[in-house]
């Protein structure tokens, strides 16, 4: 076996040094009655070429944007990934390292994450960012728990236009905790219903959680929402599933948001069937000690040089055990590195330009679809790179029909909002050419009602 260096002679000599007669004798503490008395029922070992063949076969059974014209978004986005990203994260000093517990030989990871934290604070307009969480949804659930800790209140208002899987994750995390979750509806224009909000916000409210943009691609009126939340002393948690939008949109921090979380997959990571991506998590300095997750800070070494270390660990499970701010141990280190490399490449001007391309392509598609008979755009509020389409007939049947033409036109919304049988969510990024958008529009036009 090529990963196991032991020769028969090595094994013999090592057993002799240990002072046992056989490999079986190493397991004498495992009682016979719990030992497995048969080989594992798994296939026998494959050679490297056979493994490759097997995996290629699986890969070939999937649709991708090479095989289909895709307008799928809804929390995972198809953006261009510069070649540099994969080249750099393939440096095995990065990807075969562990969490940087020994800072003297982990400065590469530590400095990169310090840069990541800096980029995230600037992107979100916040003061502190942690070293990352599992994904946007779990980061959002952790933000809910943090808001409860920081305010010592237990009611959390969650926009029903927040990504449905983020909402489900929040519900899971709060399942057995003393947290009351209340959903806030949206209005006909696709934005949060501020009248309903006004009647639900009170002195017991820990936070309001809202998508920015929301699940329908709609840009919420964050300023008004922050003001309403702050009036009763509640925190505003802004969840960003598509962070490319922040290249163009006013940052949640600028509006006064208290916690900003989101999914960083758009920054240099493939859609990869939904993972791994990276959850980002940023907040105000004054509540940093309630934050979950790893934090990297600057310090000095014994020679007076600047270096970076894991810090404020007294919030964490390995020190505080059941009193920790979260049970999270790892971060998504390599994905955070991908986001860092990507954001450095795209830079100050590039993220803005990229966001403008997304907006322009999406608007082009939206206007063309709105002009088709049998189709309309139900939500009138401004959107970024996705929008909801309403069809005269059954949306799922329409989408299935388009699959036959190798077009993945969008996500049927019925599975998330049972009443939305005629609606679907279309995402158009910079990756779609005008010609491809025209193909989509022509296919929709030709679809049977």
């Amino acid at each position: 076996m090529r990963y196991l260096p032991h020769t028969d002679e090595d094994v013999r000599q090592m057993l002799e040094t240990i002072g046992v007669a056989s490999l079986d004798d190493l397991f004498t503490e495992v009682p016979k009655d719990v030992q497995l008395d048969r080989p594992l029922d798994l296939p026998e070992a494959l050679s490297e070429t056979e493994v490759l063949r097997e995996l290629r076969k699986l890969a070939a059974a999937n649709a991708t944007d090479d095989t289909h014209l895709s307008f799928l978004g809804g929390g995972a986005y198809n953006h261009f990934i510069p070649a540099v990203v994969d080249q750099l994260i393939s440096r095995s000093e990065f990807y075969t390292a562990y969490t940087p517990y020994q800072p003297e030989i982990s400065q590469g990871t530590l400095q990169a994450i310090f840069e990541y934290q800096t980029l995230i604070t600037r992107l979100t307009g916040m003061e502190v960012s942690n070293a990352s969480m599992y994904d946007g949804a779990s980061a959002c659930a952790e933000a809910v728990l943090m808001s409860v800790r920081a305010t010592r209140r237990n009611k959390v208002l969650v926009a029903s236009s927040l990504h449905p899987e983020y909402r489900e994750t929040i519900t899971t995390y709060c399942r057995y905790l003393d947290v009351e979750l209340v959903e806030i509806p949206f209005t006909d224009d696709g934005r949060l219903d501020q009248t309903a909000l006004g009647s639900l916000l009170d002195q017991g409210t820990a936070a309001l959680v809202v998508g920015y943009p929301n699940f329908f691609g709609v840009i919420e009126e964050l300023g008004a929402l922050v003001e309403a939340a702050h009036q009763v002393g509640a925190l505003l948690v802004s969840a960003v599933a598509e962070p490319v939008a922040l290249g163009l949109l006013k940052s949640p921090g600028e509006y006064g948001a208290d916690i900003v979380v989101g999914e960083g997959q758009s920054f240099g990571m493939p859609v990869s069937f939904g993972g791994p991506g990276v959850g980002f998590f940023a907040a105000r300095q004054k509540i940093v000690r309630s934050m979950p997750g790893r934090l990297i800070g600057a310090t000095k070494d014994s020679r007076g040089e600047t270096g970076y270390v894991l810090t404020l660990a007294t919030r964490e499970q390995h020190i505080r055990r059941e009193k920790a701010t979260s049970n999270i141990c790892s971060n998504q280190g390599l994905c955070a590195l991908m986001a860092t490399v990507y954001l450095c490449l795209i830079g100050k001007k590039g993220l803005r330009e990229l966001a403008e391309h997304n907006l322009a392509k999406s608007e082009y598609a939206k206007q063309a679809i709105a002009a088709l008979p049998g189709f309309e755009i139900p939500f009138s509020a401004p959107t970024f790179n996705e929008f909801v389409v309403e069809f005269e007939g059954d949306a799922d049947a329409l989408l299935e029909g388009l699959e036959q033409q190798n077009i993945l036109a969008g996500i049927g919304l019925k599975k998330y909002y049972s009443e939305m049988t005629q609606r679907f969510l279309v995402c158009v990024t910079e990756q779609s050419t005008r010609e491809q958008i025209d193909t989509l529009v022509a296919a929709l036009k030709g679809a049977q009602r």
Binding site: T17, Q107, Y166, K300, L345, P382
Partner: protein, 491 residues
């Protein structure tokens, strides 16, 4: 001085922000082929203040230099206990990058994502066979996330029976994630003292077990590297008292093909694919923390569940008793691909050989170091061995040994964990290291033990060969500086 460390050219590197020059760019976009659009001005930001403007070359050189300040498994021996830092096979990286796998969108209809779904279904089956459980969910993103899913299922099961038990028993040798997870499930944590032998006895568990105990969380082999040999009896006691047994699967690398937690009576266990199944740790993630469960917990699995209908695969979301969703989409799929490639490569016999060689290596290190370091537990070790810093001499402590090891060219073991051992030095060599590497490492450890007595300043001043000297962690926590602020000049 023995060891593999030597001098090399180490290049200085500033923060990327300090390379920034207005007008430089590191990206290219195609010309816009549709009319430009703008949002209302009140919705748009001014600019991305503080983002760098650098060329592609700047970025490549910056991160390449940073990488040289890191130490990975590919650099050398990494005996970090409880972390299973085995070799990360390169074919896994290649297959995980196949465009048909990376490019499949999570919202792709099931009929067009059969490759991904089949891989997940088959991986669930293989993990169930290795562990002896009836079902496996792949959704959790990491070990601690798997613990949360597992304990939520246990609680949901209790609630479904109308039991609202309040307590979870956790030995004092457990990982910190265990009590933190129990708290997140609304449970009160009751610590169990492991006692002198380091192993949990059936009598102790019986003493603690009562009608208010929802579950016992164990780690087997435990964090001292010892097999919990009363495990079957312990499970019987907990079950008889109406509770469930959760196993932290961090140390499964000792048991593949040898014994199966499901057969021992354990009800729930998480796997760390980034430990046992060779996926890279990535400097702290992404990992994956699938969870195996017995049949009676099946209704509570996180949704969706990957199922097979005839010859095709689908995601089942119609699960009324589910604990819900742990995250968005289907798990860290890219990590699952690597683990599946590993299982295919090793096969049934290979996985057993992995555990045998991991245990052989740990016991070899133990035999070679027993004379130089204090060994607090007499039992036979499995995949890892824990020494203490007792009797080191020269006012040297575990931290000094760890830092001195850096000068010899090794990543130190896990230190000061488990908490029950004074100055714990927890060594897990894994199976992918040869006898020669282990000998070199043991020679270094023995040499350091001698230095502690004869020239303790070598330990206190260590490390001297690294890019930076010992870092002041206290100062970092007292005055947190968590991002670059130009005026302060971090560097």
């Amino acid at each position: 001085m023995s060891g593999v460390a030597t001098q090399g050219l180490i290049l200085k590197e500033k923060l990327i922000f300090e390379h920034s020059e207005p007008g430089r760019k590191g990206y290219s976009l195609p010309a816009l082929d549709v009319p430009p659009e703008a949002l209302p001005e009140e919705l748009t930001r001014d600019d991305l203040g503080g983002f760098p403007e650098v060329s592609e070359v700047d970025v490549v050189r910056h991160f390449t230099r940073l990488s040289t300040w890191n130490y990975g498994v590919d650099s050398g021996f990494y005996p970090l206990g409880s972390c299973t830092m085995k070799y990360n096979p390169k074919i896994n990286e290649t297959v995980a990058r196949l465009p048909g796998l990376t490019g499949c969108h999570p919202h792709t209809p099931e009929r067009l994502s059969q490759g991904s779904l089949k891989l997940m279904y088959d991986l669930q089956g293989a993990l169930a066979e290795v562990s002896g459980f009836d079902h496996v969910t792949l959704q959790p993103a990491a070990g601690a996330h798997g613990e949360l899913a597992g304990l939520l299922m246990i609680r949901a099961w209790h609630e479904a029976q109308g039991n609202s038990r309040k307590k979870v028993l956790i030995p004092d040798t457990a990982h910190g994630t265990n009590p933190a997870t129990a708290a997140l499930c609304g449970y009160q944590v009751v610590p169990i003292a492991s006692g002198g032998s380091g192993v949990l006895t059936a009598e102790t568990v019986a003493e603690y077990m009562d009608k208010d105990v929802a579950a016992l969380m164990v780690t087997n082999p435990n964090t001292l590297g010892l097999f919990e040999s009363d495990i079957r009896e312990i499970c019987d006691i907990v079950h008889a008292g109406g509770g469930m047994v959760y196993c932290d699967g961090a140390n499964l690398n000792a048991l593949m093909g040898i014994a199966r937690p499901g057969d021992m009576g354990i009800d729930v266990m998480h796997f760390n694919l980034h430990k046992t199944f060779s996926t890279p740790h990535g400097g702290g993630g992404p990992g994956a923390g699938p969870v195996g469960i017995t049949r009676k917990l099946e209704p509570f699995l996180p949704k969706p569940v990957v199922v097979k209908d005839g010859e095709s695969y689908r995601l089942d979301s119609d699960r009324p008793l589910t604990i819900g969703r742990m995250r968005s989409f289907h798990g860290n799929f890219g990590v699952l691909v690597r683990a599946w490639a590993y299982i295919l490569t090793m096969g049934s016999g290979g996985l057993k050989r992995v555990s045998q060689m991991a245990v052989l290596n740990a016991n070899y290190i133990r035999a070679r170091l027993e004379g130089s370091y204090h060994l607090p537990q007499p039992h036979r070790s499995l995949h890892e061995v824990v020494f203490s810093d007792k009797n080191l001499g020269g006012d040297c402590h575990t931290i000094d040994v760890a830092k001195r090891l850096l000068d010899y060219g090794y990543h130190p073991p896990t230190i000061y964990f488990p908490l029950v051992v004074q100055g714990a030095i927890m060594i897990e060599p894994t199976e992918t290291e040869s006898r020669e590497i282990l000998d070199e490492f043991c020679d270094a450890m023995i040499s350091i033990a001698r230095e502690a007595k004869e020239q303790p300043e070598l330990l206190h001043d260590a490390p001297v060969t690294t890019v930076l000297g010992r870092l002041d962690e206290t100062a970092a926590a007292r005055q947190p500086c968590l991002c670059f602020i130009p005026e302060q000049g971090n560097k």
